[in-house]
């Protein structure tokens, strides 16, 4: 049974962040007093411009950075008492640049690397690796050297290597940068599949178009704080919030806002919706 993304029950909080503060060496306070609950099965987009703190937040969640203040609970356990590999079993992080990770002679070994480090049994690792290769359509490439592949394929290898670690929560950092429309859509479909299986997805991006097409919940960050946490419609309805966090609303949203005097609702997030509202009551 797939647990539905719930906004009602508080009991299935998988990541719970309370009063998080993080200051880098050198004094930059990247995250300030942040409280956020992530529920199992959520599909959250964390958005904000450069310097908004979204990457810092993500790295605090998976333990690469440790909070200066505040607590992070992962599945009910205090993350500060967990080593990074332990957290990695629950929270998988797919970095933006695949070339910062690939080093094995074959795709299969690359995908095997993560789960092997986590101490799973040999048989377990095999199962996870094959499943990940299947999920990312990489079986036909599994003996190839990862560095010889195209960008889209290299991305899929790094995603497969995270999937093979079999976490409950996935953090994806700008997964579609540099990809064609087709590759991008295929990849986002994979993310949708993962979410449908009950996995929690945290998408870090500044591409509002992507957000409008995929996320169920949007957390807008600016200067280390969360300035909005709502469903995508709520986020797009407020142009000021988007501008404040150095984000560019998609053209369809800008157009909806420009036409609001004519009765067009402002929380429109797709061209189809907009056209529907434009023609509503004026056809025939």
């Amino acid at each position: 049974m797939i647990p539905a993304p719930s906004s009602v029950q508080g009991s299935d909080k998988i990541v719970s962040i309370t009063d998080l503060r993080f200051t880098y060496e050198g004094g930059v306070e990247a995250v300030k007093d942040l409280t956020l609950d992530i529920r199992k099965g959520d599909y959250i987009a964390v958005v904000g411009g450069n310097g908004s703190g979204k990457t810092t937040l993500a790295k605090n969640i998976n333990g690469l950075l440790r909070p200066s203040r505040g607590t992070i609970m992962i599945r009910g356990h205090d993350a500060s008492k967990m080593a990074v590999p332990e957290i990695a079993k629950v929270v998988g992080y797919a970095f933006q640049n695949p070339d910062y990770q690939l080093f094995c002679p074959t795709v299969e070994e690359e995908v095997r690397f993560g789960p092997s480090n986590l101490g799973y049994s040999h048989e377990d690792v095999n199962v996870k690796v094959q499943r990940a290769l299947d999920a990312m359509n990489l079986q036909h490439l599994r003996t190839k050297p990862p560095l010889s592949l195209r960008l889209g394929e290299r991305r899929r290898v790094t995603l497969a290597s995270v999937i093979a670690m079999d976490p409950e929560v996935f953090i994806f950092d700008e997964p579609t940068t540099g990809l064609d429309t087709e590759e991008s859509e295929m990849l986002m479909q994979k993310l949708r599949n993962l979410n449908a299986e009950g996995k929690t997805i945290i998408l870090i991006t500044h591409d509002m178009r992507l957000v409008s097409e995929h996320a169920k919940r949007v957390v807008v960050m600016s200067q280390g704080r969360v300035i909005l946490d709502s469903d995508p419609r709520g986020a797009f309805a407020d142009l000021d919030i988007l501008r404040k966090s150095n984000l560019e609303p998609p053209a369809v949203t800008k157009l909806a806002h420009a036409l609001k005097a004519y009765g067009v609702p402002v929380d429109i997030i797709s061209p189809e919706e907009l056209v529907f509202h434009l023609l509503r009551g004026s056809e025939g």
């Binding site: 060496e25 790295k59 998976n62 690469l64 080593a83 990074v84 590999p85 990695a88 998988g92 992080y93 970095f95 640049n97 070339d99 910062y100 990770q101 690939l102 080093f103 690397f113 993560g114 092997s116 480090n117 986590l118 560095l147 290597s161 995270v162 670690m165």
Partner: protein, 262 residues
């Protein structure tokens, strides 16, 4: 994050204003002096002179402290290790089995340490008061080929960038469960491969991009390139240079020609 500590601090002291070529030459001359002098008193005086220059450079304590912690530790290390290898002379201050601590050896150790202190500190003055690019530019003006100067400049420029890249690679691999510093020798070596390979690939990609960029900006188009940044010697620079030459010449003459024990 790994990063290169840039020792330069902006300022308006006479050291900052001095022509970088004079500074480089002075540092070389003072280094020669440090080798020429052999008495503890003379070297001690030189060290004091150099420390005075550091104070005059008005470099903030945060940077000088970092630099001098290193020099100080080095000096202490030399003083401690020296008598272990040099056990000759009288009188003996202390002895433990085959080890003998003699007064002359201790003095020689102190002298060496002071010499090293002078050598290290004088180069720090150059770095506290001169921007990296001015050092490179000065070297080229003094006759180093532009190619070498550019190579040096590019290396310095990419040092912190590369440090950041390696930091990111380590983060990415740690997120895959990699733990550095743990495990047997084989595992630890494999762990470093996980950082080394992406780092080298990244470096090679950058190098490719660099070579395209250099060519696209006409690098090597003509043998006679011009330089936007230029220095011209002023009378104060000549005066400083003369002062340093004198500081070198006087003790040198005294020692070699007059046989004084300096």
């Amino acid at each position: 994050m790994v990063g290169f500590v840039d020792l330069y601090t902006e300022g308006d002291t006479f050291l900052h204003r001095m022509d970088p070529r004079v500074k480089i030459t002075s540092v070389i001359l003072l280094s020669i002096l440090a080798f020429v002098l052999s008495s503890l008193e003379a070297l001690g005086l030189l060290l004091l002179l150099i420390m005075a220059l550091v104070v005059l450079s008005r470099t903030p304590i945060s940077k000088t402290a970092f630099a001098f912690k290193f020099v100080f530790r080095l000096m202490v290390l030399i003083v401690i290790l020296w008598p272990l290898f040099d056990r000759s002379g009288e009188p003996v201050i202390a002895s433990l089995g085959p080890l003998r601590l003699t007064e002359p050896a201790l003095l020689r150790g102190l002298t060496s340490a002071t010499r090293i202190g002078c050598l290290a500190t004088v180069w720090y003055i150059l770095m506290f008061t001169t921007q990296q690019r001015d050092i490179v530019r000065a070297l080229v003006k003094m006759g180093v080929r532009f190619d070498f100067g550019l190579t040096l400049a590019i290396s310095l420029r990419f040092f912190p960038t590369f440090g950041a890249t390696i930091g990111s690679i380590m983060d990415a691999q740690r997120a895959r469960g990699l733990e550095f510093g743990r495990g047997g020798l084989l595992k630890r070596t494999r762990n470093y491969v996980a950082v080394l390979v992406p780092a080298i690939v990244s470096a090679m990609r950058t190098a490719d991009g660099l070579s395209w960029a250099l060519q696209s900006r006409a690098y090597g188009a003509r043998p006679d390139r011009t330089y936007l940044r230029d220095f011209r010697m002023r009378w104060s620079d000549y005066a400083s240079l003369m002062a340093v030459v004198l500081i070198l010449a006087l003790p040198l003459t005294a020692k070699l020609a007059l046989g004084m024990d300096l």
